[in-house]
């Protein structure tokens, strides 16, 4: 392994690389760009919501004639933006960033592996992801426009929607394939390629979270695959899996056999989409755990309980899907079951969160930029989790269902939750990837602005939801109660644009630090995990000699040790 590596050509090195680090970087940059796109779509929607029917500034004039009227948004375009914002953020932004980028780059390093178990499969899954993403974006410029039936694509609406929906389905199939391949790769890698001495209970929590995530991907996505196949058949072959008999659209009986069930889609979709929620959050939790352990300079409190909760969480997430469907005419028994499972699944999340919180006790906290994001994650994710409580219960859901409260809830989980975790991860591992450390001041600016605006966006949404304002409305002001809450909408919109501005320091920091002269030290955070055991940036093949692990992942401030951190890969005498 240690013999010299011949220089690879540009294509092999950057485009068709099989090196997990390069693939991780590809995933990362692609995902960041997609995140930015998804965010831009949302900023346009926020304009329409804040100032209904007024011409969109800056971009309005450039938009396609079928999207806008004199620069003012048209309802159909709004629905396209809504559907695509959700799809892009979930399937093309956060998952590739959390799993594809961080997973690919960090996991093999943290387990002391030369690469992923199946490097070429790895490359393939990135390419599938890229193709899927491009199809999704391309659908905007098809005659019928992009998918406009929400990211949940409920039939019959999605069945009778314009061609964009077909592209959405094809895109999804690619993204699903990508996730499946990735998941398989991660499972095998983590199970097989752990360094000598790295037992499961010496794995960093981040690796654990990736393992569980991988299982969720592999086992949950097929359900959506099946659903997508059915919907494609409905749209292309004229079947009616999701179409009951006797549908009348636009005053005409639609030409379909009928006999299908619209609810079938919802069951299949949510069977995927609820585990998907945990796919979104678990890697984030993993990163947060790493950062907190490292910056509190002490072991995570309750590492084992956290791992067990993680496994339990993963398992339970397959049993709660129908709590998205309380109001589809569900009976008492069913709803009771799913309310119970929903309450149960909240326990492990509480355990993990409180373990992270309690880890602060007795620590010596370094307020580094990643740590700031990690600390902010705790209460933000806390809000996200807590607001899930009333939604998880059927009765309050009667009022809150499909209001902005729901949007506030899950955005608190993924935006100030996962996205903050992602930022923490970027700041934390940037020195590992580039060999440079990011600028502090810009980092602080980025953090504080983001924190303020994130809450500025999503806190008002919770109140709007309380006021009963429904989501996915092109122009809610037709409703009296929505007019009363319009001020909140304005706050949200302006905060959203503010959030965009507050990313500028990050972007500058990200690219400018890369060009910096002076290199960061090999182990700038004085961390204990394996990724810091090798050169920076790690060579092809990662480790010159396969590392050996002697201790648990977070051996900080070990009594009697001369430094306050005892790396896994260093043998402690005695």
């Amino acid at each position: 392994m240690s013999e010299a590596h011949p220089e690879l050509g540009f294509l092999r090195k950057y485009v068709f690389s099989t090196d997990h680090k390069m693939i991780g970087i590809q995933y990362g940059l692609t995902a960041l760009v997609f995140l930015f796109i998804g965010f831009s779509l949302m900023m346009m929607m926020r304009w329409q919501l804040a100032y209904p029917g007024e011409a969109i500034p800056l971009v309005g004039g450039f938009l396609k004639n079928s999207w806008v009227d004199n620069g003012a948004m048209l309802p159909d375009f709004y629905n396209q933006l809504g559907a695509m914002h959700g799809t892009i953020m979930v399937f093309m932004g956060i998952v590739p960033l959390a799993v594809g980028a961080f997973g690919n780059y960090i996991v093999p390093l943290q387990i002391g592996a030369p690469d992923m178990a199946f490097p070429r499969l790895n490359m393939l899954s990135y390419q599938a992801f890229l193709i899927g993403g491009v199809i999704m974006l391309a659908s905007f410029f098809m005659p019928g426009g992009a998918a406009s039936s929400g990211w949940t694509s409920y039939p019959p609406l999605a069945d009778i929607a314009t061609t964009g929906q077909t592209y959405w389905l094809f895109g999804m199939i690619f993204l699903i394939a990508s996730s499946l391949l990735g998941g398989i790769n991660f499972i095998v890698t983590i199970v097989h390629l752990r360094a000598e001495g790295l037992t499961f209970f010496r794995l960093p929590f981040f690796v654990w979270s990736q393992l569980v995530t991988a299982f969720l991907l592999v086992l949950a996505f097929p359900a959506l695959q099946a659903a997508a196949i059915f919907q494609l058949m409905d749209r292309l072959a004229g079947t009616s899996f999701f179409l009951p008999s006797g549908l009348v659209v636009g005053g005409e009986q639609i030409a379909a056999v009928g006999g299908g069930s619209p609810l079938l889609w919802q069951h299949l979709f949510w069977f995927l989409a609820h585990p998907e929620v945990y796919v979104l959050i678990l890697p984030g939790m993993g990163i947060i755990a790493e950062v907190i352990a490292n910056n509190t300079r002490k072991p995570l409190w309750g590492y084992r309980p956290m791992v067990y909760s993680l496994l339990f969480l993963g398992f339970m997430s397959f049993t709660v899907w129908a709590h998205h469907m309380y109001l589809t005419g569900m009976g008492t028994t069913m709803s009771t079951f799913f309310q119970a499972t929903t309450m149960i699944i909240s326990i492990p999340s509480v355990i993990i969160l409180s373990c992270l919180v309690i880890s602060l006790w007795g620590a010596s906290i370094r307020f580094t930029v990643p740590m700031l994001f990690a600390i902010a994650f705790l209460p933000m994710f806390g809000i996200g989790g807590l607001t899930g409580l009333p939604l998880g219960l059927a009765a309050p859901d009667i009022f809150l269902h499909d209001t902005y409260y729901v949007i506030g809830h899950f955005h608190y989980v993924v935006a100030p939750g996962t996205i903050f975790a992602m930022f923490a991860g970027i700041y934390h591992w940037y020195p590992k990837v580039t060999g440079r450390s990011m600028n502090l001041r810009l980092g602080y600016a980025h953090f504080w602005l983001s924190l303020i605006f994130m809450n500025g966006i999503f806190m008002p949404m919770l109140f709007e939801g309380m006021a009963g304002v429904s989501r996915r409305m092109f122009d809610p002001t037709g409703y009296v109660h929505a007019q009363a809450a319009h001020t909140l909408t304005l706050v949200t919109s302006w905060s959203a644009w503010g959030l965009a501005v507050s990313q500028i320091p990050f972007i500058i920091n990200f690219f400018w630090s890369m060009r910096k002269e002076e290199r960061a030290e090999e182990n700038p955070w004085q961390a204990t995990t394996l990724e810091w055991a090798t050169a920076t940036p790690p060579p092809h093949g990662n480790f010159d000699a396969p590392p050996v692990v002697y201790s648990g992942p977070y051996e900080y401030s070990v009594p009697g040790a001369e430094t306050d951190f005892s790396p896994q890969y260093v043998k402690q005498e005695g």
């Binding site: 590596h5 199970v191 097989h192 097929p222 299908g260 079938l264």
Partner: protein
């Protein structure tokens, strides 16, 4: 492929007792189980949701049980030949491997041929995915399910055949250098093939007999 060596590609992992490839295919099959599981549960959900008299049995819907049975036998036989080809490879009998692998591919193609014949038969009777069961006033989605499920299964068969063909004509070059590794690949393809076979063994009664 770069020259870095990734462990457990040939030798089994002490803990799991299998090579990475085999573990991978097992995980993949697990997700395939979830896929077909989802499809079968959809079948159940749709059937339960439809009044019994509107849901034809396979025969009523004009499915030809004898042909289906023949196909089942063909596929099961192909599974056997698959095992044989792998076994003979293990016994360093390359000719045997080629013969049996060829047979497997042949049987796979035969299966597809019979299936396409069955399809054409239905098309000629004007039965398409989008057509409900004519006897029912409120048609069911039986035909749609039949075509979708069997079609998807056929896709899996095609994929399996493709892999086997590759192994037989191109992959075999690996045999000289690393016989063990090649045998491993054949075994993996075999596992997949048996799964596809198994799926059909569930599909056949569900669609034709129930």
């Amino acid at each position: 492929m770069s020259e870095i060596v990734i462990p457990y590609q040939v030798e089994p992992h002490p803990m799991t007792g299998v090579t990475s490839g085999k573990l991978g295919i097992w995980v993949f099959l697990a997700s395939e189980v979830m896929l077909f599981g989802a499809l079968f549960s959809s079948y159940v959900l749709l059937r339960v949701g439809t009044p019994a008299e509107y849901w034809p049995s396979g025969v009523e819907a004009g499915l030809n049980v004898p042909i289906g049975t023949v196909n089942t036998i063909v596929l099961i036989t192909s599974s056997i030949t698959m095992v044989m080809s792998w076994a003979s490879l293990k016994m360093n009998n390359l000719r045997g491997f080629k013969r049996f692998m060829g047979a497997t591919i042949g049987l796979g193609l035969a299966f597809l041929m019979i299936k396409s014949f069955e399809y054409s038969l239905k098309f000629s009777h004007g039965i398409f995915p989008a057509v409900g069961w004519p006897e029912a006033t409120d048609p069911s989605v039986f035909n749609a399910l039949y075509f979708t499920l069997t079609g998807l299964h056929a896709l899996h068969v095609i994929l399996g055949i493709a892999v086997n063909v590759w192994l037989l004509f191109w992959g075999i070059s690996l045999f000289k250098s690393q016989p063990e590794r090649f045998a491993g690949r054949v075994e993996i393809s075999g596992l997949y093939w048996h799964f596809v076979d198994l799926v059909w063994i569930f599909l056949f009664p569900t669609l034709y007999l129930l």
